[in-house]
């Protein structure tokens, strides 16, 4: 039993989860409105977009890479869906368009990072600008309005399933699927190996470039499809949609224990991190704290998260000659 408790405490996601509980409890006590169903729905609906993207981002961060282009991709994709739908195209056509955009951006990122060995930070910063630039050119001053949004998407954004917003369910299902893949499928385990020790990964014969390429492709694909989530959430899209989202996404991952140094972290952590950041934003609102403080708190939380990581990793004691004792 003691062993089980120790093991549980070692799980990286636990501290974040406890942090989340504490935030919810404190806020709920101070402001009972927070504890209601609508309080729950506010948080879960509010976090859906970032949580979805955080799941995808985890794929690249565990490889010690980063994808900053997701904010531009999701915004552009949301616009394209609305635009195509308003021109009379069906739902699946719109989704195919979204997926196509995501795959193209992901393939470009992946090719440049995996095969040309360019640094992902710079590559995806560049594609962030390029995609946003194209988006601005195509969208101009147009705005997608509610009547242009495909019916199915509109429905998803406004309704709940036994009290749980559909959009949050989408994020949770994605999390469970990707979580299973990352734990149980060999190619996905390679991502952890690559992020943990690149030279060794090459030495044991892991096809590093192919894995890196596919991970960026997958992240791009999810970001493209997630355009539907963004559109459903706000029922509108314009040239600035999704602006800056990438940073919230990276913050969520890091707070959730996905190490920016690679090799470690799970999609569960990333989603919990996203929910924690969202809960804090809401909590500060519920407690009447001026809104600009929420950014400061997010920043402090980020530093706390990486400091905790540092502390935990330096605390590991070298094993003795007789193994672990």
């Amino acid at each position: 039993m003691k062993n089980l408790i120790q093991k549980t405490l070692k799980v990286r996601e636990i501290p974040v989860f406890l942090g989340l509980l504490i935030v919810v409890l404190i806020t709920g006590t101070a402001n009972p409105a927070f504890f209601t169903l609508s309080g729950f729905q506010d948080i879960t609906l509010g976090v859906a977009v970032v949580a979805t993207l955080a799941v995808a981002q985890t794929l690249v961060i565990v490889m010690k890479h980063i994808d900053l282009s997701v904010g531009s991709t999701i915004g552009f994709s949301a616009y394209l869906i609305g635009d195509a739908s308003s021109k009379g195209h069906g739902f699946w056509y719109c989704m195919a368009l979204a997926l196509g955009l995501g795959l193209v951006v992901g393939a470009v990122n992946g090719y440049l990072v995996a095969y040309l060995k360019l640094p992902s930070l710079v590559v995806t910063l560049a594609t962030l600008y390029i995609v946003r630039g194209l988006f601005n050119e195509i969208a101009g001053g147009n705005t997608i309005t509610e009547d242009m949004v495909p019916k199915a998407i509109n429905f998803m954004g406004l309704n709940t399933f036994f009290g749980i917003p559909y959009l949050f369910l989408v994020a949770v299902i994605l999390m469970l699927v990707v979580g299973f893949i990352m734990k149980r499928l060999r190619p996905a385990r390679d991502l952890y190996a690559i992020g943990s020790n690149l030279a060794a990964a090459e030495l044991v014969g892991i096809p590093v470039a192919r894995r890196v390429f596919l991970a960026f492709l997958a992240t791009g694909a999810v970001s493209g499809l997630a355009g539907a989530v963004l559109l459903a959430r706000f029922n509108t899209a314009a040239a600035n949609s999704g602006n800056g989202l990438e940073l919230s996404v990276v913050a969520a991952c890091v707070v959730g224990g996905v190490a920016i140094a690679g090799g470690i972290g799970t999609v569960y952590g990333a989603v919990i991190g996203a929910v924690l950041l969202q809960a804090i934003t809401m909590a500060l609102g519920a407690l009447g704290v001026p809104q600009f403080w929420q950014l400061t708190v997010n920043g402090i939380l980020l530093i706390a998260a990486i400091s905790l990581d540092r502390y935990l990793s330096t605390r590991v004691k070298p094993t003795s000659i007789m193994g672990t004792n």
Binding site: N197, A199, A201, I206, P318, I321, G323
Partner: protein, 500 residues
């Protein structure tokens, strides 16, 4: 190890060149199942190249490798592993964030159906650890594991691939004596399971205690191979050294002057201890020893890069404070580091900038570096050193290794130091440039500079130094005058051979 048994691996007449350097030429190796086979040779004898050929990192240019009667498919680490060769490098390459179980099976995780079988991997690795006689928990992560334990995980990995040949490259270099004992047990265990174990070590006492056969390499060729019972330490050393030390080294007689450097009882916990020596003006003191014997650590401490926790360093009668290299530079000390790419040069900066970087104070006015002076300083030194370059504005990484080394030397000689420390001054550079570097060092000594030279090349130390100090495992274990020094004596002291 019955001699009439069929060999598991045979390497015949292997050759391999890198650019102009012939790393292997006439390399031979025969391994039998169920033996521990020592591979010996001085630094640069070609052992590493041979191991890397077996590991699938390099492809040999000519010759043949046969494994279990079939031709060995070269040039892929994965293929080497699949054919049953496992190489354990001196620095194990585990994945710190993965569990030990996953480290054992990385890249080929066990599966149940189409998904990774975690329990199966844990069970299997636990079995492997038990088989090796060690108590490691397969569910912990590899981060923080001692080198000894990391090696065990690597060996478990080798066993899990059904390797028939397990190569260990200087596995004991970083181990304590207790850990060495455990490794020996594991190696004997492998021997009993009919593996062929290749054991590379510089410690002859270990080799004679553990191995059943010995192969010696020199200058890329195999110069001897026999059962341990037919060998002794003297014979092995003779095979390793072999060549006559030529008079390539233009050492000039120099008058010895005052004591310039005095090192008193220097020590750093876990690195080195009781280091005492003096260097006089005009004297070249060679610091010999095996790689990892603590020579570089000592000179880094003397130069003030690393701190020391015991003893003191005196330059020209003045005691220096530890941990402040720039004060040491002002006091008249210079260090040309071992790894020039990492520590000696700003690779993408120009030759001029690199040469002048230690002299910025002298050629600056109000913190602005005068470009003209920078260029002049560099070209003056370029002439003295016969540096071959197009323009001083070219980045250093466009130069050959030998010329890079000259730029590093220029950079430090420009400070006109009273004491020059050079760490492996001619590693990886061609013979011509080598003798130019030697000529320059000798000339500087004659002009009254005190020089400490760390070198793993015995001929170089013996050819250049007035006095040779030998280190082993962080201690000074021998001192030889230029006249008394022989390669056999130095190797015997450096390897801790007991004179069997």
């Amino acid at each position: 190890m019955a001699p009439n048994q069929k060999a598991v691996l045979e390497m015949r007449d292997a050759a391999k060149a890198f650019g102009g350097v012939q790393a292997l030429k006439g390399a031979e190796l025969t391994l039998y199942p169920g033996e521990i086979h020592a591979l010996l040779g001085e630094n640069g004898a070609g052992k590493s190249t041979l191991l890397k050929a077996l590991a699938g990192v390099h492809k040999i240019d000519s010759g043949s490798i046969t494994l279990n009667g079939k031709q060995f498919e070269q040039g892929s680490t994965r293929a080497a592993r699949d054919q049953g060769i496992a190489v354990i490098y001196q620095e194990p390459s585990l994945f710190p964030d993965l569990t030990l179980a996953e480290n054992v099976f990385v890249g080929r995780q066990l599966q149940k159906g189409k998904t990774v079988d975690w329990q199966g991997m844990e069970k299997e690795s636990r079995k492997l650890f038990e088989q090796l006689g060690v108590n490691l928990d397969p569910t912990i992560r590899a981060r923080g594991l001692s080198i000894a334990d990391q090696q065990i995980v690597e060996i478990a990995k080798a066993l899990s691939t059904q390797a028939t040949v397990i190569v260990m490259d200087e596995p004991t270099a970083a181990l304590s004596s207790k850990e060495v004992d455990r490794l020996f047990k594991v190696a004997r265990n492998l021997e009993a399971q009919n593996c062929a174990v290749v054991f590379v070590s510089h410690r002859l006492d270990e080799v004679f205690a553990l191995c059943s056969r010995i192969t010696v390499m020199r200058d890329g060729a195999t110069v001897g191979s026999a059962p341990t019972s037919e060998m002794n330490e003297a014979k092995v050393i003779k095979l390793m050294v072999g060549r006559e030390i030529s008079e390539l080294y233009p050492k000039l007689e120099a008058k010895l002057g005052e004591v310039v450097l005095k090192v008193e009882d220097l020590g750093l916990a876990g690195q080195f201890a009781n280091i005492n020596f003096e260097v006089r003006a005009g004297e070249i003191v060679g610091l010999a020893g095996l790689v990892g014997s603590g020579r570089s650590e000592v000179v880094r401490a003397i130069f003030g890069i690393d701190k020391y926790d015991k003893g003191s360093v005196w330059l020209n009668g003045k005691k220096l404070k530890p941990g402040n290299p720039s004060a040491h530079m002002v006091a008249g000390m210079a260090l040309v580091p071992e790894d020039r790419r990492q520590q000696g040069l700003f690779m993408s900066s120009s030759i001029n900038k690199n040469s002048a970087v230690t002299m910025l104070k002298r050629i600056s006015k109000l913190f602005i570096v005068r470009q003209k002076d920078e260029g002049k300083l560099a070209s003056d030194w370029g002439k003295i050193l016969q540096l071959k370059y197009a323009t001083g504005h070219d980045p250093v990484d466009r130069l050959s290794g030998g010329n890079q080394q000259k730029v590093v030397l220029a950079k430090w000689l420009a400070t006109e130091p009273k004491l020059l420390i050079v760490d492996e001054p001619t590693r990886g550079i061609d013979v011509g440039t080598k003798s130019e570097v030697h000529r320059l060092l000798s000339q500087k000594a004659q002009e009254g500079m005190a020089i400490v030279m760390v070198s793993s090349e015995l001929p170089e130390v013996m050819g250049m130094a007035d006095r040779i100090l030998v280190m082993r495992e962080g201690r000074m274990v021998g001192e030889f005058d230029r006249k008394q020094a022989t390669a056999e004596k130095i190797i015997a002291v450096a390897t801790g051979a007991s004179g069997k």
